[in-house]
């Protein structure tokens, strides 16, 4: 061991090996950096344009459904789509944007215990300036109202109650308030009601369910004997759906 420490030969070789090792590591790091260098893809500039058109088209379908469910115009979706197609070409002048809508429809099934309002449209997008042809996407808007329990009238308490769920095209809506609901009993507006959001965890069925418990107070007679109860719901987008319970 002492001999090794006092050894005076081979220093040059050691230093040369050290320098070679440093050179190899440096070249390795340089190659790695070159490989992972950010590459500018021209497509990325146009993804913003495509994303904007897609999101706006979806919004258009929602706006049209909101308009249709709160008004009387059955052709509102078709009219809005035609305007949007014209305006898009005008807004993005020079890009050669062409948006076609081969199919679109609005379907509303109301006045049932489970009712829904829906609109859908299929789009094909062409952008001539970047050579994009036939990019297809769809837009769907839906609002569905279902009851999870049968309506219950209590003659003793003079109350009418029901549990309902409200869903859109993606999920169960959990942020609705009393202002989003309107109740008509025997075709007369009834303002004395409460809406309580509840979350029911059914351990046996391992299913979780969010629902709204709606309770109307001051109901003098059982509505099922008359015109029944009409429940109207609006979501945050302004889309309406109407259910009826006889």
């Amino acid at each position: 061991m002492r001999k090794l420490i006092k050894q005076k030969k081979g220093q040059f070789v050691i230093i040369a090996m050290l320098v070679i090792a440093i050179m190899i590591i440096s070249i390795g790091a340089l190659i790695h950096r070159t490989v992972t260098y950010y590459k500018h893809e021209p497509w990325e500039e146009y993804l913003t344009l495509i994303g904007n058109i897609e999101l706006s088209s979806r919004r258009l379908v929602e706006i049209s459904l909101a308009n249709h469910t709160n008004g009387d115009n059955p052709n509102i979706l078709k009219e809005n789509l035609e305007k949007w197609q014209r305006n898009l070409t005008q807004i993005y002048l020079g890009y050669g944007v062409s948006l076609n809508c081969p199919s679109n429809e609005i379907i509303c099934s109301w006045n049932n215990p489970t009712s829904f309002s829906s609109a859908s449209a299929n789009f094909t997008l062409n952008i001539n300036s970047i050579g994009l042809t036939g990019y297809k996407f769809a837009a769907v808007a839906l609002l569905k109202l279902s009851n999870t329990t049968n309506p219950l009238y209590s003659n003793q308490n003079k109350t009418w109650s029901i549990n309902v769920t409200v869903t859109d095209e993606n999920r169960n809506l959990t942020t609705l308030k009393k202002d989003n609901f309107q109740i008509l009993i025997n075709e007369l507006e009834h303002e004395n009601f409460t809406v309580v959001p509840q979350y029911f965890v059914n351990y046996t069925a391992t299913s979780h369910k969010f629902f709204y418990r709606i309770e109307c107070q001051g109901v003098m007679s059982d509505p099922s004997g008359g015109s029944g109860v009409t429940l109207q719901v609006w979501d945050q987008r302004g889309i309406k759906v109407t259910a009826k319970y006889s």
Binding site: L60, N87, I91
Partner: protein, 152 residues
């Protein structure tokens, strides 16, 4: 030749000089790396504009997806638009936004602006993002947002 090589290999002179040279090289490399951390790298116009456009679009897209952008624009809450963009964009990014209708008329009667006017005007790299809103509530009423961005 062989004798010279063997003599060189067995030489014990100037070993410290060699080690000092290596240490000096390391010190110079570390010093350069340290200084590089504080260096202001000149921006490439091509990449800089693309980066600014991406940031601007991401900010507008996120606000739109959350339903905030349409609400602010159509309710003419220009201060809220400025505040929201301030939150979404980096502090050193100056912006100026103008809202147009389809006829090209400017809709915002208040400035949607953040930053230093002089820096904004003198900057060589100003990116421009065009974003369209189709309407709000149940009404089709397009609005065209032009967002200009520059580094402060």
């Amino acid at each position: 030749m062989e004798r010279i090589v063997m003599r060189t290999l067995r030489s014990t002179e100037a070993q410290m000089r060699v080690i000092e040279t290596i240490l000096a090289s390391f010190i110079i490399v570390f010093a350069l790396s340290f200084v590089n951390m504080f260096a202001i790298v000149p921006t490439s116009p091509k990449y800089e504009l693309t980066d600014l456009e991406k940031m601007g679009y991401s900010a507008l897209h996120d606000l739109d997806q959350n339903g905030l952008l349409a609400s602010f624009i159509y309710n003419e809450e220009w201060e809220n638009v400025t505040a929201a963009l301030n939150v979404m964009l980096p502090v050193d990014l100056y912006f100026n936004m103008t809202v147009y209708d389809l006829d090209g008329t400017v809709v915002n009667n208040a400035k949607i602006f953040y930053g230093d006017q002089e820096t904004f005007g003198a900057s060589n790299n100003i990116a421009s993002v065009t974003y369209v809103l189709v309407g709000y509530g149940a009404t089709y009423k397009p609005r065209i947002l032009i967002l200009q961005l520059a580094r402060g």
